[in-house]
Amino acid sequence: MKIDVSHFLDTFFLESAEHLSTIESGLLKLMASPSDAELLNSIFRAAHSIKGGAGAFGLSDVVKLTHALENLLDRMRNGLAKPSSDSVATMLQAVDFLKILTAHRDAESPAGMDETIAALNSAAGSSESPAVESSSASALGAAVSEQREADYKVVFQPHPDLLTTGCNPLLLLRNLSYAGTVLSTRIETKDLPSLAELETSRCYLSWEIIIRTGNPIGDLREVFEFVEELARVEITPLAGNPVIESVSARPEATGAQEKSVHESSIRVATEKIDKVIDLVGEMVIAQSMASELVENFSLDTQDRLKECLATLDRCVRELHERTLSVRMLPVGTLFSRVQRLVHDLAQKTGKKLNLLTSGEGTEVDRGVLELLADPLTHLIRNSADHGIEMPAERIALGKPEMGTISVSASHLAGSVLIEIEDDGGGLNLKRIREKAIAKGLIPPTSELSEERLRQLIFEPGFSTRSEVSDLSGRGVGMDVVKRNVTALNGTIEVCGTYVKILLPLTLAIMDGLIVRVSDHRFVLPLISIIETVAIRPEQLLNVAGRGEAVRVRDEVIPFLRLQKMFHLEESKLERDEDMPELAVIVERGSLKAALLVDELLGQQQLVVKSLEKHFRRIEGTLGATILGDGSAGLILDVGTLIDSLAKTDRTSKENKRISLVA
């Protein structure tokens, strides 16, 4: 019987990823509490589990690494080795290799792996290297024997307590008989007590068996493998039958491993799935009730139908929420990656860094979380590399030697708020200004407000450090961060040493404001709307070279006519000339724009559908959605709309000035 276990490989990879993050976060905590036995145990268990699984799939590199890791952890557990920053760094290195190796089926051995294994072994203070136990080799290998039949005498004298370990002497004898032909059996009953003294849980008998077999003697020994300590077992070949040593051979490599695409799958708590299933059950009941009521509809049943629909409504709502929550992950998983990063950064820069995190339990859509990883990493790097000063400088400034970076997550009215703050030097506005002038981003004479200066760091190609540092990348800085965040339909603000990122909870569903522009309906993401205002003609301004603007209270905001932008015809609907025009003020970061619309139709939760997949990308839109009445509506991308305003401004000025509307 051949059983193929390779389809459990994906489960194994998923599980390994979890174990690896346990190991990683555990190792990071280890330096702070090196004698925490439970912590060491949990790290050890995780490594151990990976090793166990990897062995079953024949992933020898993973086995080698985890074995060395486990070995070192075991010595630490037993107090034979002490965790040091070097050994922790080596273990983290091993974790990195394991991540590579368990990323997909065809992962190749990463370079430098053997050195890491050697370093782990030397940290453990042992030269041990064989990772795969001999016994597993015998499990994998097949014994080929060339042997003539021989007779053996087997003496089996169990300890009286043998039965208490679940061993059954009769089974052993049965198994022995499978190994050959039993020629004779003799039972020794001299120890058998009288019936009154007999204890049923004790074994009083012993056996002497003569067996003829063509199998090696090891096969007979194996029968008694589990009872060696609880029985006297003697196996002796009978004279006249020479025993020929068996030859064992390794099987040939089991062919090229079948290639398969690593599907993206997610692990979801059973509880979440159960709730969804419960709800679907309720819905099915409500639905069948409703159809029955419709079938036999009369005025009497009207109320019951309404009730039924209300139940259905509640179910759908709840199902909606629950299904979304399936895709939700706590931000903590991302924070633990950051923890690792800070640890590495502290080592590389020679700075003393401390990371404070809060709100790890805040749940965010998986997609948002994945896309958030890069910007967050970048911001933390910036803080560590540019923000926090060297220890000596900090002491001179009267600050604590240890620099602190804090990251927190929280829910804020349907959005996720990520805040990053450090106690470093903050943005050096003077340097930013000098740099911007040097790069020709602003004219030397320009007098920009602090807010405008801060915005400059988001410009492509802007980097205040003269020499490109190894850590913060090369010139692809804050502009990429900003692009990523805007791609998520979120906003980012920098204020001194404080960065604030606001993101929608999920990418699949958003709250939107439906507006009418001429005869078309558009949707504006609620997250980017500040207010809607009625505009009287005297509020409109025409700024030379900058197009139209509108004065709202004391602020001048660029003005965009959506109708013109999308080349729409005049509405066929009659327009009351006395009615003021309506504008929706939207923002992206600190940039604002006023969008002229004909009517505000209401607010709705929308499922975002991509246009690119079926049609093509339309400039200025995020995608489309199905509105309440079944018709389609385009969702406007506030970011690109505002950018397009900035672009017109720049080209019209014919110099590289940045349009900033503060």
Binding site: M1, F8, T11, F44, A56, S136, A139, T164, G166, C167
Partner: protein
């Protein structure tokens, strides 16, 4: 009647693989994530053989085996421990706790079935 095996392991992969192998071979399989979980399950239904990991959260394998052996109706139940360690100490510790035998991880499926058949009446 199909024999029922209880498999106790905190690793889903390992559990699924053992369970799959045994089910293919016609066993009924109950899964448990750790010793405590397994104790609850073993009290709730009859089991013919137990296969348990040793390193587990909540309740480890040794404690679990001792607890099972302390139950009057499970005095003779075959209990196999899953172990990656080839050292004698683990096996001895397991035997002392009352384990019937052991399966060394990694195992190949046939080997697993052989060992299980070996201890099943």
């Amino acid at each position: 009647m199909a024999k029922t095996a209880l498999i106790v392991d905190d690793s889903t992969t390992m559990r699924q693989m053992v369970a799959f192998t045994l089910r293919e071979a016609g066993y009924q399989v109950i899964e448990a994530e750790h010793g405590q979980d397994a104790l609850d399950k073993i009290c709730a239904q009859p089991v013919n053989v137990v296969i348990t990991d040793l390193n587990m959260p909540v309740m480890d394998g040794f404690t679990f085996i001792k607890n099972v052996r302390a139950m009057p109706n499970h005095k003779f139940l075959p209990i196999l421990m899953l172990t990656t360690e080839s050292q004698l100490s683990k096996k001895e510790q397991g035997k002392a706790a009352g384990a019937t035998g052991w399966i060394v991880k990694p195992f190949d499926p046939e080997k697993l079935l052989q060992v299980v058949a070996k201890v099943l009446p």
